[in-house]
Symmetry: C2
Subunit: 393 residues, 2 copies
């Protein structure tokens, strides 16, 4: 990167959130390249694949939060950059493994890594990114000193544990088809799954790298918690939309997966009992498998009607398929009906309201941080509070 | 655990390798329970699943190497135990993800974790284990002091990177159907994939926890490298055997996956050109998918011969299946033929010879470590050198 780091970040450019994010993305990509250029050996493919998702774009939201907090509190870019790049690496590792876990097909406008390269390689690339994040955090000892380096390591250790705990809670809800959950249950899960790794820890490590004391961490934790809630609810709302070009992720994937979003849980609480029972039953059904299960069933019916296949033959084939797909799967009509039900009980509006409340809460908390001097960096944080629930992609 | 740690490990019991391993497994399981009991919240299922593979048994080879080295060099069990437990955790995390990557169905006599709980949950459990390993290593600061704790962290960071690099090399060889590889290529891959995390790092962290200086690390690296080679070749040989009860893993899985073992590469170098070409072609074919692909093809033929399905109908179904399984898959006959070819060119004997050579090399290196005092712990290391290539499971 040819960006002159200090000059660039010091120049006042109020409101230019996009520019700031792009700048963070630039220095962060450069740092990731630097970290992995040193490791080019054995299999170059691995390093190419590690850089695949980061190179597809992405907003570099987490590095931006770290950098803005560090610089805003008087720290230097050099002090936070390896940690910021590491957080971005974690994020992309989680995305790769999430895409496998959610059976997602698209990410940032292209096929997901496991669709392109198979699950074996995608699992290993994610593991590589998680594993490799330790080294730059150890190198922090030389950059920010022993005390802050250890505090950053402890913050990251805490973060990863919260994240996998949250992911486990969510997966378990889907697996056991749990639905008697309210907003508070959803929000505790999101705090674990999203707020720590996307907001709380990025803010806190930025402060630590700037030399801030332990007192600064609790208010940043509250701020990050509310930001995370607003962000995740907005993310879940965007997932329901029908414009793949704009959002880049697979659309409606959460409904196929049966994810317990704030909207879905609201629907299950407020729908008529008959509709609710149907919805719960439908959520228990699995997603159609990627091996063309739906298409094959349609084809068999077609062959029977054309006299190419006997009814006995069809039953035998169906029985054989049944062995490997032992339960019924959701259909597109199921998903449409569920979406209609969610609209009819006002679940989207409820979710938007909750997201707005958390964003307002975050804005108030940020406004109350009197030890955070006014600067371009603080402005960026204010803009980000607004961005997390107003964004359209 | 009610074991009196010091007394138990200090008591002389020459040659009792099994007892020593069992003792290490016991204290290590206790430590893992202690580490995770503290984290019981949110989803208990996650912690149950983390303990699933460790509770199935396993030899606790890696903790035993660490403990024997630490105690043998005058260190205390308390100084190495959290690190030893962490290595066991890494090992089990790698097993869970390996089983997904290799599409393995059995592990330690039971279905693999992803077969029991689905790929999403299995990916997350492995991630949880990788992520949670950081905290005990940070707690080392209080146990062994700052300097040794940082050295252990650096050793583990190096280890994880070597391991994912090795895994990437192996996956890439399979993906690209590379076969022009010799013993040296195989051994460099194994050094990365196996030797570091199973031998070199366990030995080195044991020495560090005992307060050994940097000079001690290079000879332990050589020792671990040869042990790793002997161990992995033996493991690959065991994979070819036909007794599932004794080995616990799926049998012949490596051949279905097309793994580049020392034996397979030897076969490809020494088979007649015609046989070699057939073998290479066969290796390029994928493994039959788990959705009953093989059985379905057989059924369709059956239905045609019984007049239940027209030839047109069969072609249409085959074309539909083709979209999702675009290439031909290996058959059981292919695997049998390949196994016969390997036997006929003496590949198993060659591999056993190479394993023996590395085990002898390791024994000589260990004998030459004049700074490692004679003790029960040193005896255990000697026994382990013998064990890695003589074991039958």
């Amino acid at each position: 990167m040819s960006i002159s780091r200090e000059v660039s970040f010091a120049a006042p450019a109020p409101g230019a959130l996009e520019d700031y994010l792009a700048e963070c993305k630039g220095v962060c990509d450069g740092e990731v390249d630097r970290l992995f250029a040193a490791g080019q050996r054995g299999s170059n493919t691995l390093y190419e694949l590690i850089l695949d998702y980061p190179r597809r774009g992405g907003k570099a939201l987490r590095p931006a939060l770290s950098i803005a907090t560090c610089l805003g509190l008087g720290g230097h870019l050099e002090a936070i950059l390896p940690t910021a790049a590491t957080l971005e690496l974690y994020h992309n590792a989680f995305l790769i493994h999430d895409d496998i876990e959610d059976e997602s097909w698209r990410r940032r406008g292209k096929p997901t890594l496991h669709v392109d390269h198979g699950i074996p390689i995608a699992v290993n690339v994610g593991d590589a990114m998680l594993s490799m994040s330790l080294q730059p955090l150890l190198d922090n000892v030389e950059r920010v000193g022993l005390g802050p380096a250890l505090r950053i390591l402890r913050a990251v250790a805490h973060m990863t544990r919260q994240t996998v705990d949250g992911q486990a809670v969510e997966l378990e809800w889907v697996r056991s088809n749990t639905w008697q959950l309210d907003d508070a249950d959803y929000l505790s899960m999101v705090e674990l799954k999203t707020s720590w790794y996307s907001f709380i820890t990025p803010l806190q490590v930025g402060a630590i790298a700037a030399g801030a004391g332990a007192d600064y961490l609790a208010p940043l934790e509250s701020l990050g918690r509310h930001l995370g809630a607003a962000f995740q609810i907005t993310d879940d709302l965007l997932n329901l939309r029908a414009d793949p070009e704009e959002y880049g992720k697979e659309i409606g994937g959460d409904l196929w997966e049966g994810k317990r979003t704030l909207m879905l849980l609201h629907t299950l609480r407020f729908a008529e009992p008959g509709d609710r029972d149907r919805a719960v039953q439908l959520l228990a059904m699995r997603r159609p498998s990627a091996d063309g299960e739906l298409g094959l069933t349609v084809l068999l019916d077609h062959l029977v009607s054309r006299g190419e296949l006997s009814r006995t033959g069809k039953s035998e084939i169906a029985a054989r398929l049944q062995e490997f797909h032992p339960s019924e799967s959701k259909t597109l009509d199921d998903i449409r009906w569920l979406y209609g039900l969610m609209l009819s009980v006002g679940s989207m509006e409820h979710a938007r309201e909750v997201a707005r409340w958390h964003a307002r809460k975050a804005a108030l908390l940020l406004a109350g941080l009197d030890w955070f001097p006014t600067s371009r960096h603080r402005d960026v944080l204010c803009d980000l509070v607004d961005y997390v629930h107003r964004r359209t992609r």
